[in-house]
């Protein structure tokens, strides 16, 4: 039996890694992957709570999150492809038509 605080700490680290990835990476696909990491950190959290509380809501919610994450990746990759076709780059620093 793994203790709850340990799992929460793990998921917090995972989430922070995702946040770091979103802020530090310049490649749109890597940013997208970092966001996935954040969502999965939350899934770990939900399942840990579900186990600790002896309640199934958390696990059901995790399934919803997985489905939503898949939909999000679908839209996200479509937008990235659209950008690539237009600009021949997916570096988000070079996509800077709009500012101020």
């Amino acid at each position: 039996m793994i203790r709850l605080p340990l799992v929460l700490f793990f998921s917090a680290v995972l989430f922070s890694a995702g946040v770091y990835g979103v802020l530090a990476r310049r490649n749109a696909v890597l940013v997208l992957m970092s966001i996935e990491l954040m969502l999965n950190a939350v899934n770990v959290n939900l399942i840990a709570f579900s186990q600790a509380l002896h309640d199934l809501t958390g696990q059901a919610f995790a399934l919803f999150v997985i489905a939503v994450a898949a939909a999000e990746v679908g839209i996200g990759l479509a937008i990235v492809i659209l950008i690539y076709r237009n600009r021949e780059t997916i570096n988000i620093d070079e996509v800077n038509l709009l500012k101020w």
Binding site: L32, I35, F64, A71, I75, G76, V95, K99
Partner: protein, 486 residues
């Protein structure tokens, strides 16, 4: 025997009637757009409008709902707050469909996917206003966000794709924070039902530290959606990049939907923690009003200026939210109604005045607009006056109401900042009016001469005047709608 195995809780579909109608209409329009060989955008428009009308009729019938307060396993709340928010959203969607139809028709682009996407977005928005469970809030938030990302990119212009990508990356980022907040709330109280969370927190049975983390993360998530400073960075880019008709729709509707959910979550499930979240909302309101108003001054593009103005307006609504009283909810609802009408109309005028496509959206191209089109200049002035909060427009009454709610709740400081911010904001609104009326035209832009979109812009203008002169028409209704029970 069989009934024993198939026993299920009673299913009451009444309170999600509007969403069912919208989903049905959306699927039909989607199929119609894909299957019919000779595509008729007009038929798709009419079918979509029929769907919206049906949803509105079902919503109105829910005003007198006598069944359970929550249905479908406590997922959906059937209250008057949801009815009012839905009606505002459906009205905005109908006008935006007319504007968008005209926008793409004039551009000569065939976009049959525009209509179902607007219907699905509206479905997500109306669902989020009625959501009584954090799972449903998250799902509805994703429905509306994913559709909006696609709507933003619905153009051949590069700026639209770029705006869409920024919107998507930041929106997904904020969804993750929101989701983390939901997980924390679940861990703190053992439930995702808004009312169960409230009961658990009121009874001190929940984990307070986790609950506070949940409030903070949920505020970040909602802050992104309503474009509150410091989570506003995407707004100007997205509003400028998106096709103007889509901008009109999302600037008005997203804010209404996100604020409705924000109000419901804060005022029901986290009501026992009111003293803890009020200062956060207070700080957000002050930062949003000041930054939105000051940065709008520096803008040279009308869409960007209106985007910053919409950020500032989010701050004014937050003033009403920070009051955390029934009066606060009522004032926030009225502000949202006035804001939705005004910003929809303003972007509608921008769409008509900026020629075909998006070529002329700089402030300079508004010089001498009253020579070329007195009607458009007059409508624009009305909307700008309403945004600045000058009587006799709805914006004035709305601002007075939120400030009064804040002062009554003892937050006179935030009201004072609000008044100062609206003085600053008046400068850039009136600057556009000076350009339109007192300068010679610089460029030769022919405004769009069509009648139908003009009517679609005239409707919000009439509402702005009507609610400014006779606010009593809706204030009574809003007061009865601003009771959030748990």
């Amino acid at each position: 025997m069989l009934g024993q195995f198939l026993s299920h809780p009673p299913v009451e579909l009444g309170p999600i009637g509007p969403e069912l109608v919208l989903a049905g209409a959306g699927v039909l329009v989607l199929l119609g757009g894909a299957l019919v060989r000779r595509r008729q955008p007009r038929a798709l428009l009419l079918a979509s409008l029929a769907g919206l009308t049906g949803a509105a009729v079902v919503s109105v019938s829910l005003w007198r709902w006598r069944g359970h307060a929550t249905v479908l396993g406590g997922m959906v709340q059937a209250d008057r707050f949801a009815v009012v928010a839905r009606l505002i959203l459906l009205g905005v969607a109908a006008l935006a469909l007319v504007l968008g139809h005209h926008y793409f028709e004039r551009l000569g682009e065939e976009r049959p996917e525009f209509y179902p996407l607007v219907l699905f977005t509206t479905l997500g928005m109306t669902l989020i206003t009625a959501a009584a469970d954090l799972i449903l809030v998250f799902l509805a938030l994703e429905i509306l966000s994913l559709s909006l990302y696609v709507l933003t990119a619905l153009s051949r212009r590069l700026a639209a794709v770029e705006g869409s990508m920024k919107y998507f990356l930041l929106g997904a980022f904020s969804s993750a924070f929101f989701l983390y907040g939901v997980a924390m709330a679940y861990g703190a109280t053992g439930s995702t039902h808004l009312s169960t969370i409230a009961r658990s927190l009121a009874g001190q049975t929940g984990n307070q530290a986790l609950a506070l983390a949940a409030v903070a993360l949920l505020v970040i998530g909602f802050g992104f959606k309503v474009a509150a400073v410091p989570f506003h960075m995407w707004t100007p880019d997205v509003y400028q990049g998106a096709p103007t008709a889509v901008t009109a729709y999302m600037s008005a509707a997203t804010k209404v939907a996100a604020f409705a959910a924000f109000l419901r979550v804060l005022m029901t499930s986290f009501q026992p923690l009111t003293w803890d979240w009020t200062p956060i909302v207070w700080g957000l309101a002050v930062a949003t009003m000041i930054v939105g108003s000051v940065l709008a001054i520096a803008q040279t593009d009308i869409k960007r200026m209106l985007a910053y103005s919409s950020i500032a307006h989010a701050g004014f609504v937050l003033v009403g939210v920070s009051a955390a009283t029934q009066e606060g909810i009522q004032s926030a609802l009225f502000y949202l109604l006035a804001y939705a009408a005004t910003i929809l109309g303003a972007f509608g005028v921008v769409m008509l005045a900026s020629g075909r496509g998006e070529e002329h959206t700089s402030l300079g191209s508004y010089a001498g607009l009253c020579r070329r089109s007195p009607l458009l200049a007059g409508l624009m002035s009305l909307f700008l006056l309403s945004m600045a909060g000058i009587p006799p427009t709805a914006g004035f009454i709305a601002k007075v109401n939120v400030f009064r709610a804040a002062v009554d709740a003892g937050h006179w400081g935030v009201a004072l900042v609000g008044v100062l911010a609206s003085v600053v904001a008046a400068f850039f609104y009136i600057r556009v009016m000076v350009l339109m009326y007192m300068q010679e035209p610089l460029e030769d832009v022919e405004p769009d001469p069509s009648i139908v979109p003009r009517l679609a812009v005239a409707v919000p203008a009439l509402l702005t005047l009507l609610f400014g002169v006779f606010p009593g028409l809706v204030l009574g209704l809003l007061e009865r709608a601003s009771v959030l029970r748990w």
